[in-house]
Symmetry: C2
DNA sequence: CGTTGAATTGATTTAAGTCAATCGACGTGG
DNA sequence: CCACGTCGATTGACTTAAATCAATTCAACG
């Protein structure tokens, strides 16, 4: 429920690993660190809403955050999921300071909050910081476009297979057994699927050597997955 | 066919209207102008391919360019359409200098080419330029995310209706009659539809006061369109 | 005037959403 | 310790949106 907290050692580590901070010189890192507020939120708390004024952006310290758009009829579409070490909400800083999507805690989360006006000031003096922001936005842009392409080119089972392969690559260079980082319903949203469709995709992938128990995934034949 | 041309007065005007140049001071504008090469390309010419090394990005001076992803089976998905005054290919500059999508001339086009390494140098000295790049990428990011949301929340007729309303707003504050800026098949791709689906959507929208003859569109009841 | 590529229309297939029922895990309280 | 209730996941039956395939029609341009 939006408790304001002091920044601890573990948080510092996560923060320094972000694309925002990791490239910066120590003095600049410190300067930015001093502007940060840390807060914790419960699952389903709204972090910001589309159309409202944006005065800060965030880094995720722990948990997962969901960025989504609401349709007039009340249906929701996820645009991105952000986990530990990731930045979100930054792009409103360059779009007239209005959020264009909703952000919600998908589980209990800890966040670091960056004040946009302070960041703007620092950015004017420190080209390094602008570079970091450019890097973050380029990644986000690429992710979003990959998403469009994925939606338009691949079926549900293909999208799921791709995601599993990505995960297995991320988890130690092609680990054949790993854990889904979050709930299946959230994953469904991320992949643009109804939860039922994700479920069916999983059960279809069983025929290609994927076994799933709860959140644990085991891949016995990565090659088979690749050519779903 | 990639003719190299001298930059003329008309091109200069378009260039200065881009989000890249318009915010910059005249001296900086001039400095950048001096690095630019202008080229012309025929319809269907490939401008760059995904996976290849990126050494420059572009501004469109005239015509339209299509950014797309190719699937293994050879199907294509459009990720964005860029017209006069728009920038594309810039994001590869911050992603390891590799293009992640394909770009193709959708008709005959004139382009201004920006050398990435030169731009990087200038950017280091001129925070204004970094700001421009941040603005461009923020818009592109937002566009891409809007795209995802649109695809996931709206049916074909809704997407087409939205697009027409957008166009009518862009063309002189809600003009009820205007011209589609490019071919219908290209529009279909932009909206993530097969050309047949676009055609059907158009004919369905006739019932809501939209009349289409060739590329000319007339909207008689914008309100009806909004609540398709 | 004829040729070429784009757009439309119709028939069919397919992927995925929706609705509904059930199952399972987990945590709470009796 | 067990019964219950909640929430997420699964499964099945059905509906729907849109892709695909095929056949014309239409428009632009040489």
């Amino acid at each position: 429920m939006n408790k304001i907290l002091k920044i601890n050692h573990r948080d510092r580590e996560v923060l320094q690993s972000t694309a925002l901070m990791s490239g910066l010189n120590p003095a600049l890192q410190k300067r930015i660190m001093d502007t940060i507020a840390v807060s914790s939120h419960e699952s389903r708390d709204m972090l910001f809403r589309e159309g409202t004024e944006a005065d800060c952006f965030y880094a995720v310290l722990s948990g997962y955050v969901r960025l989504f758009r609401l349709s007039k009829e009340g249906r929701e579409a996820d645009i991105g999921i952000f986990g530990p070490g990731e930045i979100f909400g930054e792009c409103a800083m360059f779009l007239g300071s209005t959020y264009t999507f909703n952000a919600q805690a998908a589980e209990s989360v800890m966040l670091a909050r960056f004040d946009m006006s302070k960041m703007r000031l620092i950015m004017r003096e420190e080209p390094e910081l602008a570079m970091s922001m450019l890097n973050i936005m380029a990644r986000h842009l690429n992710d979003a476009r990959e998403n469009v392409a994925n939606d338009r080119l691949h079926t549900a089972p293909q999208r799921v297979a791709n995601y599993l392969l990505e995960l297995s690559r991320a988890n130690g260079n092609g680990a054949s057994t790993f854990r889904l980082p979050f709930q299946k319903s959230l994953l469904a949203g991320k992949l643009g699927l109804a939860p039922e469709a994700l479920s069916r995709a999983f059960s279809l992938l069983r025929n290609s050597g994927v076994s799933i128990r709860g959140r644990m995934v085991q891949i016995s034949d990565a090659e088979a997955l690749r050519k779903i």
